[in-house]
């Protein structure tokens, strides 16, 4: 089933330079945070800035990961799938940074207080769940794990269809305090379209 999309004329593999370029591009948001920190340009509330930046980029990387399959189908360029693991791992990487800022700078590694926050506040619950569900996906992203898990690997990685809506919900409820839903609506639409694309009957 996973191979269904390989039907059609493959347009060759990835050019050798593409993977390193995408890798470096994915590091730009992190490099930017360091550069801004270095220049004392993280703004008036640096913790807020870093929290939002890492959260936003986790979501962007998640969208990029989800975009691989529809793009591959549209273009017929099957080799695109070889970028997917890297994009997914970057989504996890920025989510991990986002979570670390929350655990460290909000809760000072007080796990009890952090979990209480997770239980008491649906907005935190949604974000935390999205992050926790990403952990097994990152952990099983290696070729060896793919081979070991076989068909169960794909079933497991369908968790991303839960992670993405949870991330949107987290963002939506966060913005509810500002009564300003423009940004979560944009990301929500993108995620919605990317998920919908999977329901469309596959081309033969």
């Amino acid at each position: 089933m996973a191979r269904a999309a390989t039907v059609g004329v493959p347009r060759g593999g990835l050019p050798a330079w593409l993977k390193p370029v995408v890798f470096l591009a994915c590091l730009v948001p992190l490099a930017r945070l360091f550069a801004l920190g270095f220049a004392d340009e993280l703004g008036t509330n640096p913790v807020e800035f870093v929290t939002r930046s890492t959260g936003t980029w986790a979501l962007v990387m998640l969208c990029a990961t989800l975009a691989v399959t529809p793009l591959r189908r549209l273009s017929g360029w099957t080799a695109l799938v070889r970028l997917r693991r890297m994009l997914g791992l970057f989504a996890f990487f920025y989510a991990l940074l986002h979570f670390t800022v929350f655990l460290w700078l909000e809760h000072w590694f007080d796990l009890g207080a952090m979990l209480l926050d997770v239980i008491e506040r649906p907005f935190v619950t949604a974000g935390f769940l999205a992050f926790v569900l990403l952990v097994p996906l990152a952990a099983t992203s290696t070729q060896a794990m793919m081979r070991r898990l076989g068909s169960r690997w794909q079933a497991l990685h369908r968790l991303v269809y839960l992670v993405a809506p949870l991330a949107i919900l987290h963002f939506w409820w966060h913005k509810a305090g500002k009564n300003d839903f423009l940004e979560p609506a944009i990301y929500g639409t993108v995620v919605g379209l990317l998920l919908l694309a999977r329901l469309v009957k596959r081309r033969r």
């Binding site: 008036t44 000072w108 907005f123």
Partner: protein, 323 residues
């Protein structure tokens, strides 16, 4: 153009607390940022420079015994990190877009349940009572705080001018809502104009400040020029900006945030570490410009530390219910 020159021997507000001293503390942040970046950077000093202020911008004021002795937040932070949705919802929007606000001429209509309704021009307001510098803590509902050297006088001085009737139980404040001057009005995040309100006894409390300046100068537009209200024991959004109308009413007014999200923002909105916001705890806060990147948040004080003065206003009230 302005206002009142300092009497002989009276210190200019700017001399009471040299701004350079506050700005120096910004180094805490710089050090924290450098910790993350691995080295210390050079070109930071440029953005710490005090604003160039013309003589026309300066306001003379006497220090108030109601001031806190805590060090004020740097001018740059006070004037570039603002919530003022009429100019956009991002915190740097007001500083960027509020230049389009015309603060003169400016009038404030005072009406409703008062014996002497009238209109005040901004110059009248500036002379209505002696200007004081009041250094207050400001706690935003979002979990950050500042210390701001405001200039103004107790709102009660204005209230006494119009003689509220026995029916006046509450006061409504209306912010200007002019789409030509305020680009944020095109967004529907809140109903316009922005409305805030206080109970009459809250409005009469000496701490409640009719505010026309900060840091020894007239209010910058993004901070609510030319006249705003400051209620230091309540979350920041209770302190309406760029006020054009004050109305005395009998019933508790429907305020903007209370109307938009009633389960999150109550009418009273007293700073209260024991009543969490639905999406975050209110037990702690981050002091802008002082609590650096790697510094723990500080505990939030009941009534923002003004409990001795204002707790009696709420005797017998359940502040979880009337949040």
């Amino acid at each position: 153009m302005l206002i009142r020159s300092a009497a002989p021997g009276e210190p200019a507000a700017s001399e009471i607390t040299p701004r350079s001293a506050y700005d120096g503390r910004r180094n805490v942040l710089k050090a924290a940022a450098a910790l993350g970046a691995g080295a210390l950077s050079g070109p930071v000093a440029a953005q710490l420079a005090p604003p160039s202020s013309s003589a026309a911008q300066r306001l003379a004021a006497v220090p108030s015994p109601l001031s806190t002795s805590e060090p004020p937040t740097p001018y740059k932070d006070v004037t570039t990190y603002n919530n003022f949705y009429e100019f956009g919802t991002d915190k740097d929007d007001p500083a960027r877009y509020a230049k389009s606000l015309r603060t003169r001429p400016w009038t404030v209509v005072v009406e409703g349940e008062v014996a002497k309704p009238r209109m005040f021009g901004i110059d009248e307001l500036l002379k209505l009572a002696p200007l004081e510098e009041r250094i207050y803590r400001l706690r935003c509902v979002e979990g950050w705080s500042m210390v701001i050297p405001w200039i103004g006088y107790s709102l009660s001085a204005l209230i006494r001018q119009v003689e509220p009737t026995g029916n006046a139980k509450y006061i409504e404040f209306f912010t200007l809502a002019d789409p030509k001057q305020m680009p944020g009005l095109s967004s529907q995040v809140l109903g316009w104009p922005y409305v805030e309100g206080l109970r009459l006894d809250e409005a009469m409390h000496p701490l409640t400040l009719l505010t026309v300046g900060l840091y020894g100068e007239v209010l910058p537009n993004q901070n609510g020029a030319p006249v705003r209200i400051v209620v230091p024991w309540k979350y920041g959004f209770k302190s309406g900006k760029s006020i054009v109308k004050i109305r005395f009413v009998e019933k508790q007014p429907l305020t903007s945030w209370n109307r938009a999200i009633p389960h999150e923002y109550g009418f009273y909105s007293n700073v209260n570490p024991n009543v969490p916001h639905p999406r975050w705890s209110q037990a702690t806060e981050r002091r802008i410009g002082e609590d650096g990147f790697l510094q723990r948040k500080r505990p939030t004080l009941m009534f923002n530390g003004y409990g001795d003065q204002v707790a009696s206003l709420y005797a017998g009230m359940d502040l979880r219910k009337h949040f």
